[in-house]
Symmetry: C2
Subunit: 203 residues, 2 copies
Amino acid sequence: MSELLTTNRKEQLLEVAAKLFKQRGYAATSMRDLAAELGIEAASLYHHIKSKEEILETICFDLASKFSNVIAEVNDIYFNAEEKLRTAIKNHVQIITQNTNQSAVFLHEWRNLSEPKLSEFMKLRDAYEKGIRVILKDGMNEDVFDDVDDKFASLTILSTVNWINEWYNPNGKMSTEEIAQKLSDFILGGLRKKMVTDINYKP
Amino acid sequence: MSELLTTNRKEQLLEVAAKLFKQRGYAATSMRDLAAELGIEAASLYHHIKSKEEILETICFDLASKFSNVIAEVNDIYFNAEEKLRTAIKNHVQIITQNTNQSAVFLHEWRNLSEPKLSEFMKLRDAYEKGIRVILKDGMNEDVFDDVDDKFASLTILSTVNWINEWYNPNGKMSTEEIAQKLSDFILGGLRKKMVTDINYKP
DNA sequence: AATTTTGCCTAACACATGTTAGGTTATGTC
DNA sequence: GACATAACCTAACATGTGTTAGGCAAAATT
């Protein structure tokens, strides 16, 4: 290839794989599909990777580690629970909007992992959810958040931030910041109209 | 079969198919898998159905019509926007919790539909989302809901109510009503602690 | 009792699947 | 210029795929 910007062929392979896995699903994407999209033969893929599942593993665990960093980072720097949650949401949204294909695979296709890796992956997922849950508990102790079922609330929050992936268009009008802002407001403020007497209202 | 309660073999087939499609995904579930689960040979399935995709179509469109009914029903009976939204959420939750397998297929596996049916399905989905959106607009006009981006809000609401399917356990402690109640409160009230001066607060 | 219908079977098809083996060519390094 | 490595190729494998054809037995209908 005379292309200068071929960072790495393997990275390119993973990128294209993520795109196809998002579009058609992991199981419905064949190695020949993937190879054709790269302009090579199916057998040639095995110069770069060991197996089809290795591709899925790489994509899933790469993103899992990115999400793990969000929690670690947020807990290191910020102190106020609302600030923590807002920042976590912002970073989460950023990861999803900047890695739309990989995110879709991370969110939907991980079921296709097989057993040693599957459990490992689910543990990482649970750990992330627990991280969010701790922030919520802190917020309730600080009397910043309403007293709610924290398990229930954390799952609900994750659902809203993850659903972005379903409709977000990188070429659309909304910026990452704008999305994060609106989502945070929605999660924190709810929908019902209220007078401006929130205890922690900040203009 | 001497079993009395075999409602219909086809219904049973669809039920088992939905279960497997949820567990392993549509593409990863073979007709032989499905047949084995029913205790018959793969070829025998074709006595009941025309093709694998027909199964997927049936499941997806059955549920789509259930969701359509929710909007129609709600718009016929209720007048207050908040009441409408609460009822829509309750009915939506009910459909998901009472049809866990089919819901999972409806939410995740519809991508595997092929072209005439795919577009048809997406239209139904969009119509449903639009139904929710109209309720939100009404609510804003009635000054019951905060002024928000209704497109954004409707997608966010759908994300939260759909995510139930990811963690809901029919044998768990939470009832449909309890889930619907909590979700409605969350969506309408948000997370931030506030004084009890909501314009439309009802104890 | 005769006949249709229902539900399943075996056998087989044409094709798609992930993957391996072994060879060829371009690219970069000493 | 020799050599190593990276990137790709063709050919083929074993197995899995959705589906069809044709037949058999029990149950339901007449």
